[in-house]
């Protein structure tokens, strides 16, 4: 714990560690994310669902991609986000970072579940089945299991600061393992059966199909930023309810 003693991060990083400062900072930032999310998601949805051309093979059923892909991307990146927030909390002993990680857990798990559900709904008309043991589906399912492990541990430990640290360790170990799991599942699948369906290799989507998807992904990131900030701020109010500034804020 000595190599970063003489190493200073920008001032805002330390300010973020103060629950009150984070609460106010979040309040100023949230409308921007909410507005951006609203604009981008409605723009992307209307364009994607109504105006984008239908797929020449899948027809209109491909349009679920505008929900499915952002959900899958968010589910994966929020696990990493959670691990990074937890690591920041462990290294710099920042309480707010644990609250952020805790807030992100349920959001990430929900998006992962949404990706699985929309994938199943999409799979039925396209592949004729709700579920195949395809490598990508399987690793997404395992990701959901990792999320439920983190949530279960969080629920099981009543002391919030202990729970925050313990889940941070689990999230770090889990995120280190994600590439290994993904790689081994990829290999397992190609071993046992030829990969019948590849979701990745879309032969270059035309831009009028691709740009709405991009809008949706960015919009969902903004939505998550807004949601995690809101959940973190609620968490701050809950955990800091003894302090005077919370009482003062709640009176106003």
């Amino acid at each position: 714990m000595s190599w970063f003693d003489n190493w200073h991060l920008p001032k805002w990083f330390y300010q973020m560690a103060s629950p009150k400062w984070f609460y106010d900072f979040g309040a100023r930032l949230q409308p921007w994310f909410a507005g951006l999310a609203l604009i981008l998601i409605s723009w992307g949805l209307v364009w994607g669902l109504l105006y984008a051309p239908a797929d020449y093979q899948q027809g209109n059923s491909f349009r679920i991609i505008y929900v499915h892909v952002p959900a899958a991307i968010l589910g994966q990146s929020l696990f990493l986000f959670m691990a990074v927030a937890g690591a920041i909390g462990l290294i710099w002993k920042i309480k707010v970072a644990f609250m952020v990680a805790r807030s992100a857990t349920l959001v990430g798990a929900s998006f992962t579940a949404l990706a699985l559900i929309t994938g199943a709904v999409w799979g039925k008309p396209t592949w004729g089945t709700y579920w195949v043991w395809d490598a990508r589906l399987t690793s997404t399912l395992i990701l959901l299991f990792l999320y439920t492990g983190v949530m279960a541990l969080n629920q099981a430990i009543p002391d919030r600061s202990v729970a925050g640290r313990a889940t941070a360790i689990l999230a770090i170990i889990g995120s280190i393992n994600i590439p290994i799991i993904k790689y081994s599942v990829d290999w397992w699948n190609t071993l046992h059966q030829p990969s019948t369906f590849t979701l990745t290799s879309k032969p270059s989507m035309p831009p009028e199909m691709y740009i709405p998807l991009l809008l949706m992904v960015i919009g969902c990131y903004c939505f998550c930023a807004w949601l995690i900030m809101q959940r973190t701020r609620n968490e701050i109010l809950d955990q800091e309810r003894q302090s005077s500034w919370v009482a003062r804020y709640l009176e106003d």
């Binding site: 462990l90 395992i142 299991f145 990792l146 439920t148 492990g149 279960a152 541990l153 099981a156 430990i157 009543p158 002391d159 600061s161 202990v162 640290r165 313990a166 360790i169 689990l170 770090i172 170990i173 889990g174 280190i176 393992n177 290994i180 799991i181 790689y183 081994s184 599942v185 290999w187 397992w188 071993l191």
Partner: protein
Amino acid sequence: MMSFMFAIIRRDLLLVMRYPAEMLNPLMFFVLVVALFPLGISPEASLLSQVAAGIVWVAALLATLLALDILFKADFADGSLEQLLMAHQPTWILVLAKVIVHWLISGLPLVLLSPLVASMLFLPAEALPTLMFSLLVGTPTLSLFGAVGAALVTGVKNAGMLISLLVLPLYIPVLIFGTGAVAAAAQGLPVSGYLAYMAAMLIFALMITPWAAAMALKVGQMQG
């Protein structure tokens, strides 16, 4: 440092010797779970020999999981864990000693028992050395990742179900490569690649898990 580690190993092995049931129960569980599959699927030798590797590996996963309780639970309950953590020795040494004990009483006996269960499931004889070797390389990884889970839930009530939720997803790569190696051996294909990957996972687990489990133990001491 080394003498501390050996003292812990010696002490824990002695404790286990006093209550042999702690060591025998996971083994009986292992054989019992394997015996359930022919009853549940089919006694057909041709079918069982195809799924034998998967059954043995899943049973091994569950049996090591069941034995994770012995890692830290008793020491936490009687307070000796707290003393060990204050012993002016690196905590990861303590974790490593505990993992070695766990492997000696759960992983190694599974390796030795595997010919028995393999013949119960009609595993082709030429795949048996690979099964034993894959268990030999794979079960220490299970013990290492299990130690993180066990350390995280010390002090949590009714941790049995919780620990399996935490640990089983991390066991999946070991399961895949373990069964893959045996399947390849049964078909007469080279297996060294699989075993090399399993060895790499073991080394990787040795690098990160003692640190993580040590940290989790210290965090666990903060409560109560």
